[in-house]
């Protein structure tokens, strides 16, 4: 029977194939019906408002406690809020931390706490006990000095782990400059500030902020309203009312003209670009829906103009988006951002500004607006799948002072937005002429072009900040070459610095014995050189020689890891050059050696000299000493740079010799310290056989 049925179906469907025209996009069916249920609510005497959504589809429950406070300044105690949040949930005044954690885990439940937030979820068979534990830890917290110190250390370490994060640096500087460092939204944690916070500060923050005055508890899941009302009242009735918090901060201002604020991040392989400005926007504003549409068209997702331009068209980035936030507590921001590759940082800035300017100057198309509306309508419909959506709607109506029918009218409000509305709000909220452009990136690679960025015929000024948003001087990567300096003068300064021609001429041999380590393994290094084209370099690990290079006049051998090879004549010539006690002596009159520029080596200015196409040497402009050598190698299509850093110059006989040498290639780094250097002794011809 089944078979017959199937073949019938097949015949029917084969017939149907012809009827489907896949060359045109299928039309949508009639709009589905939307049912918005209303949650049940009640309020406790202390002010806590409770929103309950019963949903019995799955045997689980979730509780979310949010505090609708204005932003709170931490001033010189930034970190007190984070630590107070981290200390919550460590048991209560009557349950030890270990017992608390054990019981939460035992039930398979989750609890989480923040400075102004608490939540818990789990199986509904444990719903009462989960609520009890949540309330107890939130209202009767267990702040101890021991836990405080631990959380303080963790916070500091956490800040350290982010120290090199390009995105984090851009975020910190962005908020600090946008709102000002003294505004609660511009404050940020630093290891130094967190060190100053005490247990009393954390407690004070909790006492001030964790109050029921403007608190909301949202309950969603497999519960019964009558029971939950009883349980919530029982568990939260002792939560004491606090003093209402003030929202009295100096309002930050937008820039009078667009500028770039640059943060140098030498490790960056991408630049973080944020184009932003301050806005005044509340959910209850008439501009709210037009702003949603304008932002959606500009950068709301994979079909936004920013994404299509910067990613799909130009391939600058993995994603480019814009965002605008709203608040009843003062200014928020509009921002457009992307992580772009170093080379296109300047072009990305222009692309961002052009897109922002375009939506201000040109009316959007009917189609753009229609698509943006469809996206919001779809998102609204899809969100109804989650029972928490109904609770969120109710919470917003309460906290954002919205009319009761705000969500009933949501779709019609979106549909009512016009093209003129979009342009009007784009002009009002997206400021291409007063934008703050935050860029965190690798200055040595991106700054040259960034300083040339023009928009509407004007060059955009660039200001420089450190990672903590302090203004700094423009980072210097190159210094102007003083007149009269040539490769030869650099070499002769170097020779003078290490003791002079005469002293060097008196050196017939040198022996250098050193110790080092590679990835924890101790190594011994021996170098011997004479003026008779003799050179020996030996590396041994625990008494075994693992690599050895020998040059003796015109013969040479190189062995490593048990393999021996005979170098070619060219290699021998190279080896001879390097084996000279001071190779620079022979380079004085070599016209192919060029002085390139001045660059920093570990903060010190140095002359960069190209010895060959692939090898560069760096000599300090002040001391004349050689600081570094760099050799570029190609291996399997990849370019590697091998560097040798010379440090700790000290006398050996009549000349100065670097007692420290560190060599690195890729991730490998070997450091050697010479323990013994002998001049004109300890060498015999037999050493080079």
């Amino acid at each position: 029977m089944k078979k017959i049925f199937f073949s019938l179906l097949l015949i029917c469907s084969l017939g149907a194939v012809a009827q489907v025209d896949r060359s045109t996009q299928p039309k949508a069916g009639p709009a589905p019906e939307i049912n918005l249920s209303k949650p049940q609510t009640f309020t406790l005497k202390n002010g806590l408002k409770v929103i309950v959504v019963e949903n019995h589809k799955l045997p689980r429950v979730s509780y979310t406690l949010t505090l609708d406070n204005p932003p709170i300044a931490e001033n010189d105690k930034v970190g007190a809020a984070s630590i107070s949040g981290a200390l919550l949930g460590k048991g209560s005044t009557s349950i030890s931390k270990d017992d608390y954690n054990e019981e939460v885990d035992y039930m398979g439940a989750r609890v989480s706490f923040g400075p102004q937030y608490a939540s818990a979820s789990g199986l509904s068979q444990y719903s009462d006990r989960i609520l009890e534990l949540l309330a107890d830890a939130a209202i009767n917290p267990n702040f101890t000095q021991e836990e405080f110190e631990k959380e303080q250390t963790i916070l500091i370490e956490g800040l350290k782990t982010n120290e090199k994060s390009v995105e984090a640096a851009a975020g910190t500087v962005s908020r600090a400059l946008l709102y000002g460092k003294n505004h609660p939204k511009g404050e940020f944690e630093t290891p130094e500030a967190v060190k100053k916070v005490t247990l009393a500060d954390a407690k004070a923050f909790y006492n001030k902020a964790f109050i029921p005055n403007n608190a909301y508890l949202v309950v969603v899941g497999d519960v019964n309203f009558k029971d939950i009302k009883k349980e919530v009242s029982k568990n939260f009735k002792d939560w004491k009312k606090g003093t209402d918090l003030s929202n009295d901060f100096k309002a930050p201002e937008n820039l009078t003209a667009t500028e770039i604020d640059f943060v140098d991040m030498p490790n960056a392989v991408q630049s973080q670009v944020i184009v932003e400005n301050l806005v005044d926007l509340k959910m209850s504003d008439t501009d709210y829906f037009p702003v949603l549409m304008a932002n959606q068209i500009l950068g709301g997702g994979g079909e936004g103009r920013l994404f299509l331009n910067l990613r799909e068209d130009k391939g600058y980035t993995y994603g480019a988006y814009s965002n605008i936030s709203d608040s009843k507590y003062g200014k928020t921001s509009f921002s457009a951002s992307a992580s772009v590759r170093n080379m296109v940082t300047d072009s990305s800035v222009v692309a961002f500004l052009e897109e922002i300017d375009n939506i201000r100057q040109e009316p959007v198309s009917q189609k753009d607006l229609k698509n943006a509306k469809a996206k919001y309508i779809g998102s609204f419909v899809r969100s109804l799948e989650q029972p928490s959506t109904v609770a969120r709607f109710a919470l917003n109506i309460e906290t954002e002072n919205l009319p009761e029918d705000f969500y009933q009218n949501y779709l019609s409000k979106i549909n009512a937005v016009t093209i003129q509305d979009v342009q009007r709000v784009a002009k009002k909220y997206f400021l291409s002429d007063n934008a703050r452009i935050i860029i965190a990136g690798k200055g040595s690679e991106v700054l040259d072009n960034l300083e040339k960025v023009q928009f509407k015929g004007k060059t955009i000024p660039v200001k420089y900040y450190d990672k903590e948003a302090n203004p700094v001087e423009k980072p210097e990567y190159e210094v102007a070459m003083p007149e009269g300096v040539t490769a030869a003068t650099v070499f002769s300064n170097y020779i003078k610095a290490i003791g002079g021609k005469e002293a060097i001429a008196n050196v017939n041999s040198i022996v250098m014995m050193g110790e080092g380590s590679v990835q924890g393994t101790p190594l011994k290094l021996t170098i011997k050189k004479t003026t008779k084209d003799q050179f020996l370099q030996e590396i041994s690990v625990m008494g075994n020689v693992t690599s050895k290079q020998v040059l003796n006049g015109d013969t040479a051998s190189i062995s490593a890891q048990g393999q021996t090879m005979t170098p070619s004549e060219e290699q021998i010539t190279e080896l001879k050059k390097e084996s000279a006690i001071v190779p620079e002596l022979n380079m004085m009159n070599n016209a192919s050696i060029k002085l390139e520029k001045i660059e920093k080596v570990d903060g010190e200015n140095a002359y960069v000299i190209a010895l060959t196409d692939t090898k560069k040497a760096f000599y300090a402009t002040e001391s004349g000493l050689k600081l570094k050598e760099e050799t570029t190698q190609e291996m399997q299509g990849q370019t590697f740079v091998q560097t040798v850093i010379y440090d700790d110059y000290k006398p050996a006989g009549a000349i100065l010799v670097p007692y420290k040498l560190s060599q690195s290639m890729g991730p490998q780094n070997i450091e050697f310290t010479f323990t013994e250097i002998k001049v004109n002794e300890g060498v015999s011809d037999a050493d080079f056989q």
Partner: protein
């Protein structure tokens, strides 16, 4: 107070009656081999259309890594009937959302639409399967995008390369040794013809599963599926073979450098069995025992009490052919990586030599129960699980029965599995270290 708490908890634990609602589904094959799974849920007027292809990072030639992930980008470029660059616009302008992701084993594409756009979702997925446009222009654009993704997610992100660092040590032969995202030079070197033949090889109905879940009319949906997917040619049979790995019998240690970090990390890893093996479920329980929740053994000891670690975690990263069991830690303050390794081994040693306590065992069961309830909480998630269970576990109904496997795992089995896979000589250790600027 404490005593009463516990007795209440254990009474409750005995009454394990609550179970997640059974996920009902229907499955069948089209003539061209496409496997179809339907799940009806009319709670909200929303529908998910999803296709999982049995192709992932491990399906590649040497020197041509990252193809599967690259396709996940390329196949949004357009089809014969969907203009280049219009994919996202069509989805969002019809109130939908969409995304895709690639693992070493499979690639997953999906859309979620208001239910009146079911036909649109089916049309788009069938277009992608039947005749996507694979041209040099699209390859070039997406190559740049993938490179930026790699920089963003891995090269520029603190600890972003930790999985690469482990895989290359845990595998010598199997393609799992290479990053799923691939090496940039491999993608640069690949020709258009290679991409086209990769599509022909892997993107065909018999190597795919279609899931439609949500507010649907089953009969109508079946007809639409036949209309849009029925005519897609089935293509030749696919042969797969992946190299086997010799067991790890001696622990080895290596270093990996990341320029985005300040605090080092230690990563230890063991090679474990692939999807569907009962031992893999036991290993999931062991992870939960070691690091899920504040009372878990490693967290409580090393982060909370001894304050040696900033963070510690145990993950059983399941894959089709072999899993990776990873325990990682970030030291706090002056603690050496060695001390972290010792602390981890101490707990695993206990697992190998003693049975876990009854109460810890009940806790693991409660956790498994909670995970099970939560895993079926969205239609979008159910669609993904159905496709996965069919394709990688060969048992679509696992969505309803997986919990029975956890319920049947015993304390003795936990000890056994720890002895089988988590011995020190089976361990790979990677010191994940900050890279200095000049390196």
């Amino acid at each position: 107070m404490k005593k009463t708490l516990f007795s209440i908890a254990s009474i409750l634990a005995l009454s394990f009656t609550a179970t997640a609602q059974e996920v009902e589904f229907e499955e069948y094959d089209l003539d061209n081999g496409l496997h179809v799974i339907l799940h009806q849920d009319n709670t909200a007027p929303v529908v998910t259309t999803a296709v999982m292809y049995h192709v992932g990072g491990k399906d590649r030639e040497d020197g041509r890594t990252g193809f599967a992930h690259f396709f996940e980008h390329l196949l949004f470029e357009g089809t014969e009937n969907i203009e280049k660059g219009k994919w996202f616009e069509i989805v969002s302008s019809n109130g939908g959302t969409n995304n895709a992701n690639t693992s070493q084993d499979r690639t997953y594409y999906y859309e979620v639409f208001p239910s009146n756009n079911l036909e649109l979702g089916l049309w788009m997925e069938s277009e992608r399967m039947l005749h996507p446009i694979i041209k040099q222009e699209g390859v070039d654009t997406q190559n740049e995008v993938v490179k930026e993704e790699r920089r963003l997610r891995y090269d520029n992100s603190p600890y972003g390369q930790f999985l690469f660092a482990i895989s290359e040590q845990l595998f010598d032969e199997h393609p799992y040794k290479d990053p799923n995202v691939g090496y940039m030079e491999d993608l640069d070197a690949a020709s258009l013809e290679e991409f086209q033949s990769y599509f022909d090889k892997y993107y065909k109905p018999s190597n795919a599963a279609l899931v439609v879940a949500g507010a649907i009319d089953v009969a109508e949906t079946k007809k639409m599926i036949q209309d849009y997917f029925g005519p897609i040619p089935s293509g030749p049979a696919l042969e797969r073979s992946y190299p086997k790995e010799a067991p790890i019998t001696e622990s080895k240690r290596s270093q990996f450098y990341d320029s985005n970090i300040q605090v080092p990390a230690i990563l230890t890893a063991y090679r474990t069995p692939g999807y569907g093996s009962r031992d893999a479920y036991v290993l999931n329980m062991i992870s939960s025992y070691l690091s899920d929740g504040k009372s878990s053994k490693l967290y409580k000891k090393m982060v909370d009490e001894e304050k040696k670690a900033l963070q510690i975690g145990a993950i059983n990263l399941e894959q089709e052919d072999y899993g990776m069991y990873i325990i990682f830690g970030l030291p706090l303050g002056e603690t050496s990586l060695e001390i972290l390794v010792d602390g981890m081994e101490e707990e695993i040693n206990k697992l190998r030599n003693t049975l876990i306590s009854e109460s810890d065992y009940e806790k693991l069961q409660n956790k498994a129960e909670t995970n099970f309830v939560n895993s079926n909480s969205s239609v979008e998630g159910i669609a993904n699980t159905l496709a996965r269970d069919y394709m990688l576990y060969d048992d679509t109904n696992l969505i309803n029965t997986e919990i029975d496997i956890y319920r049947s795992i015993t304390r003795e089995e936990i000890k056994e599995v720890a002895n089988k896979y988590l011995k020190p000589n089976q361990r790979v250790e990677v010191e994940y270290l900050p890279k200095k600027e000049e390196q």
